[in-house]
């Protein structure tokens, strides 16, 4: 019996060494590999031959997430966000999700700050990519690996409380100075059904997404968002607004069934 243990140990050592050697080779290979976004079709299609900058944009995602159904993500691009120089679009991609397009955002100088925070779904460990486009057509790209572990201590109830659907919440600053940038928080109760999962009866639950969100300050667009299946249930958005004068911030959500809801938040400007 003891002999078996010893032999097994020796065999393992030999295997271990060869794995170590293989890893060394692999390591040097990846060091020269092109970044993931260069090989990723949806990003290539978006760039359409343009060469993006990889600085001036940051993507913040936890290195390890214990719940892939709700991973916090923040994307920030350096920009003055003035009429002559602003970030006009931000696109997010999850390279290994069934639908890699997570969401797209259209920003304006009224957004004040090119920063969007939301919560996304990640099927598995993968590269997440953010692409931003300036008003002059320049592209910026950032990419981060997000590791997803299935925590054995985490199980989630697979039901959704239908009574609350389209129940929206928001939070805006009490008061802002003229031209001051304020944070807007929004969330709407919605299952964001992907059309990819089965219910308890074994039937596919039909797809139902909030697909459009807009924020307007009186008649000026602050933010437009399009969501796809990789936005977590109960879509959450944190963005900014820079009002030049007092007004009403209208927050509007629409889902694919035509259901819509609106919230009006007065913005005080001193």
């Amino acid at each position: 019996m003891t002999t078996t243990i010893v032999t097994r140990f020796l065999r393992r050592t030999v295997a271990g060494l060869s794995i170590a050697a293989a890893l060394t080779l692999l390591g040097s290979a990846t060091a020269y590999a092109a970044p993931v976004w260069e090989r990723f079709e949806p990003v290539k299609a978006l760039l359409d031959g343009a060469t993006p900058r990889t600085n001036g944009i940051g993507l913040d995602i936890p290195l390890v997430s214990e719940d892939g159904s709700s991973v916090p993500l923040t994307v920030t691009a350096d920009s003055r966000m003035r009429d002559d120089d602003y970030i006009e679009e931000i696109h997010l991609f999850a390279t290994r999700n069934p639908n890699p397009e997570i969401a797209s955002f259209r920003l304006t100088p009224h957004t004040g700050l090119a920063r969007i925070a939301t919560r996304i779904r990640l099927n598995e460990t993968q590269e997440v990519i953010a692409v931003a486009r300036t008003n002059s057509g320049e592209y910026l790209v950032s990419s981060r690996e997000a590791r997803v572990t299935v925590n054995g201590c985490l199980t989630r109830a697979d039901t959704y409380d239908a009574d609350n659907i389209m129940n929206a919440r928001y939070r805006v600053p009490n008061e802002l100075a003229r031209g001051e940038i304020g944070e807007v928080l929004t969330m709407i109760n919605h299952p964001m059904e992907t059309g990819l999962r089965e219910g308890a009866d074994g039937e596919i639950i039909p797809r139902r997404l909030i697909n459009r969100f807009t924020a307007t300050l009186d008649d000026r667009t602050v933010l437009e968002a399009r969501f796809n299946t990789s936005i977590s249930a109960n879509p959450y958005l944190r963005f900014h607004v820079r009002p030049e004068e007092a007004g009403t911030l209208t927050l509007a959500w629409e889902d694919e069934t035509g259901a819509a809801t609106q919230e009006k938040a007065p913005l005080q400007v001193r």
Binding site: D67, R147, G152, T155, L185, N234
Partner: protein, 440 residues
């Protein structure tokens, strides 16, 4: 000392006779050093599940290694089963453990002082009493520190009014005092943090056992659990148990229903959630965001997350060599931050250190974890996981949960298993041997 069916000495003799002395090391039982000098110097910082286990098992695997354990407290109070104390089911003294076995039986030098600093390049540890100790290998098992800057209004002073009780001891007693002082018909609020944090099922077991106490003594009271998550450990099982045992006493408000607390006013007994809802409480328990214990910061082993990344096979720090980080302070997901995991990780670290000091490769690592939670003294639930390393990452290779809808005798048996588990792991870690089998 028995290991399987043959004693260590017998095995050594056998291996020696077979001319396979070098292989003896592979089993973590290297022979005596030639000149009586220690086979290595190991310092362990922190005497909880991770640290005490690491110290013990290094000595068990190779008694010739000199092991010092640095732990300020003479008794360590466990977070596991502190919820039983809060629920009035166990005395505080029954969750406290000493270091006699480590000192007497395993010849670990236990130094009851604080480790203030680590110099990873000089390989020294500075103690609060001014002493500087050198090491060949350092094991950090510092547990958690509270991130006092993470939640508006929640600082050390606020924690004296609205305790976190997430490190067992005086804070736990304070929370019990608050619960006892509360009038029948009052509202108790627990605020639970986002992942990762110590003991994922902890907040949910806590409200369960507080509900048990309320049901007996303050049955008109309410419990509001405000959560920064939409999903939590053993959620379906907890929800089922709460309803079955406590009716509607416990209300859980998740992230998507504005459950995330962003501001605490301990004086006013009030919390504010992300979208501006104010909640009043007669007693509060704020479980705040956490980070690795401060000595891990001093040692330079934490990254921007506030936790310590480790090499999965050995739990050696990815940032500083010859420092190993076990337990809650390490990044070991999908393993949860649990006492059971810390105990398991410490055994892997002990084997890796003993092997390395003997010039050998570590054995392949495997871990297990079981989290029992009590919904009442007669109602236990559990989750279990088995973990290994694949492609350089820790993965769960097997696991499972208690079934939903199980009969009462099943839940009752699991409650008994929970007590057996606690008694067994405390015996393994600190040698505590006289713990009661009864609950309540």
């Amino acid at each position: 000392m028995k290991q399987g069916n043959i004693t260590r000495r017998e095995l050594l003799k056998f291996l020696g006779a077979a001319g396979a002395v070098s292989a003896a090391g592979s089993l973590g039982i290297a022979g005596c050093s030639r000149n009586g000098a220690p086979a290595g110097r190991v310092i362990v910082i922190g005497g909880g599940f991770g640290g005490a286990t690491a110290a013990k098992y290094i000595k068990l695997f190779n008694p010739d290694i000199q092991v010092a354990l640095i732990e300020p407290a003479e008794r360590f109070y466990t977070c596991p089963f502190s919820n039983l104390y809060l629920g009035g089911l166990r005395d505080m003294q029954l969750i406290g453990h000493g270091y006699e076995e480590l000192k007497q039986r395993y010849q670990v030098e236990v130094i009851h002082t604080l480790a203030e600093d680590v110099d990873g390049s000089a390989k020294t540890v500075r103690l609060a009493d001014g002493r500087v100790l050198g090491y060949d290998k350092l094991v950090l098992s510092p547990g958690i520190d509270i991130r006092w800057d993470a939640l508006e209004g929640y600082d050390q002073a606020a924690a004296e009014i609205a305790p976190h009780a997430w490190k067992a001891g005086p804070q736990t007693k304070l929370l019990r005092d608050r619960l006892e002082a509360m009038e029948d018909g009052g509202t108790f609020i627990l605020s639970a943090p986002a992942n990762p944090f110590r003991c994922p099922p902890g907040p949910y077991e806590r409200v369960s056992l507080i509900a048990h106490y309320f049901k007996q003594h303050k049955p008109k009271s309410k419990i509001l659990l405000l959560d920064a998550k939409d999903a939590f450990s053993k959620q379906g099982l907890f929800m089922e148990g709460w309803k079955a045992v406590y009716g509607d006493m416990i209300e859980w408000v998740g992230l998507s229903d504005d459950g995330r607390v962003v501001r605490v006013d301990a004086q006013a007994g009030e919390v504010e959630t992300e979208f501006g809802t104010l909640h009043k409480a007669d007693a509060m328990n704020i479980v705040p965001p956490q980070k690795a214990g401060f000595i891990a910061v001093r040692a330079g082993v934490i990254d921007t997350t506030g936790w310590a990344p480790v090499k999965p096979q050995t739990f050696e720090s990815k940032m500083v060599s010859d420092i190993y980080v076990v337990g809650d302070a390490s990044v070991a997901a999908p393993m949860p931050k649990s006492g059971f995991c810390a105990n398991n990780q410490a055994k892997v670290v002990a084997a890796a250190i003993v092997a390395d000091l003997d010039g050998r490769e570590p054995l392949e690592a495997r871990w297990t974890n079981t989290c029992y939670s009590l919904i009442s003294p007669d109602y236990g639930i559990s989750v279990a996981g088995v973990y290994g390393v694949e492609d350089g990452h820790i993965v769960e290779t097997a696991g499972g949960l208690s079934p939903l809808g199980a009969p009462a005798d099943f839940r009752q048996r699991e409650a008994r298993y929970a007590v057996n588990w606690y008694n067994a792991i405390c015996q393994d870690t600190w040698g505590t041997s006289d713990l009661p089998l009864a609950l309540g």
